[in-house]
């Protein structure tokens, strides 16, 4: 606790800065206080959605964009599981239902990519969205030419044209250079500069086929700074930029991942230039939706009716320059919970901000693996299910089911549950013991996780559990 207080005392400016950014924090809290009783009345009849969706205006084109953006990287599958096995098909019916429901409740921003869901996301979204008037929603997609064999101008343009075909449209509302900063300047130049693709996309914007051009950023800060420098010099113009922002990454990005940069810096740089900001990873890959039990209880004490995830969404949606907050919603429950959070947004207060800072400090003391389940590391050439291994380990840590001392009275139960749960979550052949340390995953991880090292750490823990019965 001493640690938290000293941190808070050391950096009061950060908090104030943040409050300024998000406008009248306390004012809206009072407003929220007034609207709450009414909200409760409506609660039963409308799945907890209490009022109108909050909208933000794009400074570049004046689009009124819903604060909740629909992320299409984790679409539901027919087996009711997240899309991991190659033979699992996307459940188009469920996608259609979710899209209809989202549109009906004011969501109008849909973010996809040629890489998502093993390449099936755009196609599914094209089917679902084309059933509605084209001017009732905004489509965001990306030029996901990660693999060096797709760096050529021809292959990249083909990827862009294919996106239009799959999405059944002749224009893209929001087009992104995908994941710049991954693999540094060299990859950026190879993917977008040397082949003239950035110029090509700018021409497409001029021709009206792309309404907004921007980029999503992970990793090397040099590339981010370089692209903003191009913007400053007038050589490029970015209508929007997509960054990773959540209450952990605001000031502690480096502690989660040494390659990342604090969201505060990224946001401020964009805000200074008046560039609209799209938020990804508001939940830090779901980790802020399933935090340690003790911390979750504190959140529930403060806002018993709200989900744990809603805290992260309210945080990410509070800064005024944020255009939309993306959430990869697999199930209707996710969608309804998020609609509840943003209809309308109840911005985080001064007091809540301090509270979230305390939560963050406590969270960082847990040695979880900062995996966001983005699956960019997959497929692992040796068949491992990397995100599932990390998810199981993190889940057990968060739920207090990791014990190392066999004399601990809780050891037997923790051991049994960890090992049984491990076999349930990850088939034996795809477990950490099969990692051969080839490192093929390393360059793909936007979070910069030392995947082989972490897998080896988990494998050693499993081995220790197996060899030491209580």
């Amino acid at each position: 606790m001493k640690n938290i207080k000293s941190r808070l005392n050391q950096k009061p400016i950060d908090r104030r800065d943040f409050l300024k950014l998000m406008g009248a924090g306390t004012g809206s809290a009072i407003l929220a206080g007034c609207t709450r009783p009414e909200a409760d009345n409506k609660h039963d009849s409308n799945n907890g959605i209490t009022g109108e969706m909050t909208y933000r205006t794009n400074s570049s084109t004046g689009d009124k964009v819903s604060l909740l953006g629909y992320g299409c990287m984790r679409l539901p599958t027919s087996s009711n599981e997240s899309a991991r096995d190659s033979d699992i098909q996307i459940d188009q019916e469920a996608v259609n239902r979710s899209v209809d429901y989202a549109l009906e409740h004011g969501v109008n921003y849909f973010d996809t990519s040629p890489a998502y869901c093993k390449g099936a996301s755009e196609h599914a979204m094209g089917i679902a969205l084309s059933r509605h008037p084209r001017d009732s929603y905004f489509i965001a997609t990306k030029l996901s030419n990660f693999a060096p064999q797709t760096w050529s101008r021809e292959r990249s343009i083909e990827m862009y044209r294919n996106s239009l075909r799959e999405l059944q449209t002749d224009y893209i509302d929001y087009m992104l250079l995908h994941g710049i900063g991954m693999d540094g300047m060299e990859a950026y130049n190879g993917r977008y500069e040397d082949n003239g693709i950035r110029k090509f996309l700018e021409d497409e914007r001029a021709a009206g086929h792309i309404r907004n051009l921007g980029f999503s950023y992970h990793g090397d800060i040099k590339v981010f700074d370089h692209l903003l420098a191009l913007h400053d010099s007038g050589e490029a113009h970015w209508d929007f930029v997509q960054i990773q922002l959540n209450y952990v990454d605001w000031l502690h990005a480096k502690e989660i991942n040494p390659r990342n940069t604090n969201a505060k810096y990224l946001y401020n740089e964009l805000d200074k230039r008046g560039i609209s900001v799209v938020i990804m990873e508001p939940l830090l890959g779901g980790r802020l939706a399933s935090i340690a039990d003790g911390l979750a209880a504190q959140m529930k004490e403060r806002r018993p009716d709200d989900s744990i995830a809603s805290w992260a969404f309210r945080y990410a949606g509070s800064p005024e320059r944020v255009l939309t907050v993306l959430s990869g919603m697999t199930y209707m429950e996710h969608l309804q919970d998020n609609l509840h959070t943003y209809s309308p947004l109840d911005p985080v207060t001064d007091d809540e901000l301090a509270f979230l800072n305390r939560i963050t400090t406590l969270m960082l003391e847990y040695p979880t693996v900062p995996c966001t389940d983005c699956k960019y590391c997959m497929p692992c050439p040796y068949g491992l299910d990397i995100p599932a291994i990390f998810a199981h380990y993190n889940k057990c840590l968060n739920e207090g089911r990791v014990a190392t001392d066999s004399r601990d009275p809780k050891y037997a139960k923790a051991r049994r549950e960890f090992l049984i749960g491990y076999d349930r979550s990850v088939p034996k052949l795809r477990q950490a013991s099969h990692c051969i340390n080839c490192g093929a995953c390393l360059s793909h991880c936007p979070q910069g996780i030392q995947i082989p090292n972490q897998l080896s750490r988990i494998d050693r823990y499993v081995e220790q559990l197996k060899q030491t019965p209580s």
């Binding site: 890489a115 093993k118 693999a147 997959m378 050439p381 749960g421 034996k428 197996k466």
Partner: protein, 497 residues
């Protein structure tokens, strides 16, 4: 009264022995694993004198009660017989459906000779084909366990859906056609014999029944017919599932009587009683026990085919799982016997192929052999798992002394095989990967990655030192599929490091 006692004991006995096979958690084995050890055939192969003398004394005192309350196959036949009565005509149900038949002595002796010939020739697995406990183990492990495991996995699904850890998934044993067919045939033969003729199998085929039968001729207590009170109704004979009562002669063939007491229950005049013997019989028939001789097991040496190395796929999109090819068993020059077996020959000679160790193995290492010289006996393979350092399940359950009890510490210094590297298919050598998964996972620390120069390129390659215990961690975790680049060759005689 006696009959009821027999039935209660029989039910407890068959349930307990069957649970030994089903219980993959190992709990029951620690509590009543001894129930497998008091079976005749395992005790004979283990030369477990205490049990053998105990069985001899019991039989000399009480007759063949072993066949009625200890032998699971005998109890299974009684159960089938009971069901068949339900399906027979009303008259038969009331008055009994059996009749006296003379003993097929020649057949009994032939089967007994075949049985011992099998053991002496080192073909214990062939002898085990007609041994009752092995036959029961075969039926349960091939036909019962898959059903039991499937039911467990349904419960595990339910538990998982409710976030409970009360049940967990188990892997189904690998399906094997020949073994499945042998189990089906065993069940069919025993089942049909029991359905039609009660204890025909026990009194014609079963070598244990024959041995105990000729001993029980001298039993102190036995059912006897009091000719003074007998009214010659013949009901006892019609209800004798061993068909051993000759009502006209008022004689009982004690070599075939399994002391089930059904006759006494059915006698309306109380002429049949279980009592001290009153008449002496003819001379005893000697039953010889001969020690089995050792046999060499040298199968054809085959050269390992170069395995195709797994190659990394180009990553274009996120998500998905790379397909994993199933591991194939390498052709081993010598088979591997589990720790505690001491040598391959020892296992071959003492194992009754009851399948108990196979159903106990939590790591999917033991499986029934399909080879003729070791049919149904356990063989070690590392395609689905490896012999984990903390596990001693098979050695703690084996009733035959084929796998002697061993502690985890003893196991860690017992070498059952040695790892062999196929440099051509090893990823580190052929593709220059910094794999080393075998070295990382060797529980004995016997593998290190050394630098070599192959085709002018500097590469690393696993080097196996003399501390290899043959546990198969390297073979199981080797990324090269379907044939691992490192595999274990068995030691015919285990060595202590």
């Amino acid at each position: 009264m006696l009959r009821r006692l027999r039935k209660v004991l029989a039910v407890i006995s068959i349930v307990a022995v069957t649970l030994l096979f089903f219980d993959f958690t190992g709990t029951s084995r620690h509590l009543w694993g001894w129930m497998a050890r008091i079976q005749f055939m395992p005790a004979l192969l283990a030369l477990n004198l205490a049990v053998l003398i105990g069985l001899l004394i019991t039989t000399l005192l009480l007759g063949r009660v072993y066949c009625s309350v200890v032998c699971p196959l005998g109890i299974l036949q009684d159960t089938i017989n009971r069901i068949s009565i339900r399906f027979s005509s009303r008259i038969k149900r009331k008055s009994g459906r059996f009749h006296y038949t003379p003993e097929h002595r020649t057949l009994r002796i032939i089967f007994l000779i075949l049985f011992f010939a099998g053991i002496i020739a080192g073909m214990t697995s062939i002898a085990a084909l007609i041994a009752p406990y092995s036959a029961y183990g075969r039926i349960i492990s091939q036909l019962g366990i898959p059903v039991y495991d499937a039911a467990n996995n349904v419960l595990a699904d339910i538990a998982q859906a409710n976030d409970s850890y009360a049940f967990y998934h188990v892997e189904q044993p690998a399906f094997n056609w020949p073994l499945f067919i042998v189990a089906i045939v065993t069940l069919a033969v025993v089942g049909i014999m029991a359905w039609l003729g009660g204890r025909t199998y026990c009194n014609t085929v079963c070598p244990v029944g024959t041995i105990l039968g000729y001993i029980s001729k001298f039993a102190l207590l036995r059912p006897e017919i009091n000719t003074d009170t007998c009214n010659n109704c013949g009901r006892c004979a019609r209800n004798c599932k061993a068909s051993c009562i000759d009502p006209k002669a008022h004689k009982i063939d004690y070599t075939r009587c399994v002391a089930c007491f059904d006759c006494m229950e059915n006698c309306s005049t109380g002429a049949l009683t279980y009592r001290l013997r009153t008449k002496t019989e003819s001379k005893p028939n000697d039953v010889k026990h001969v020690d089995a001789s050792r046999r060499n097991f040298i199968s054809m040496a085959t050269i390992l085919a170069g395995a195709a190395a797994a190659s990394a796929e180009d990553k274009i999109v996120d998500g998905g799982l790379a397909p994993i090819a199933e591991k194939k068993a390498p052709t081993r020059k010598s088979p591997i016997a589990p720790p505690g077996a001491r040598s391959v020959a020892h296992l071959r000679q003492h194992c009754t192929a009851c399948q108990l160790c196979i159903s106990a193995c939590p790591n999917d290492v033991l499986r029934p052999s399909a080879e003729l010289d070791s049919f149904m006996q356990p063989v070690v393979g590392y395609e689905r798992g490896y012999c984990r350092p903390e596990c001693t399940e098979c050695s703690s359950i084996c009733p035959d002394g084929a796998i002697h009890p061993i502690t985890a510490a003893e196991k860690s210094s017992t070498s059952i095989g040695y790892a062999v590297v196929d440099a051509d298919s090893c990823l580190s050598v052929s593709m220059g990967e910094s794999c080393g998964n075998c070295a990382r996972h060797c529980p004995a620390g016997a593998i290190s990655m050394i630098e070599v120069t192959r085709n002018g390129k500097k590469r690393t390659m696993p080097y196996v030192n003399g501390y290899c215990i043959g546990c198969g961690a390297c073979e199981n975790l080797c990324p090269v599929r379907p044939l691992s680049a490192i595999h274990v060759e068995g030691r015919e005689i285990h060595t202590t490091l």
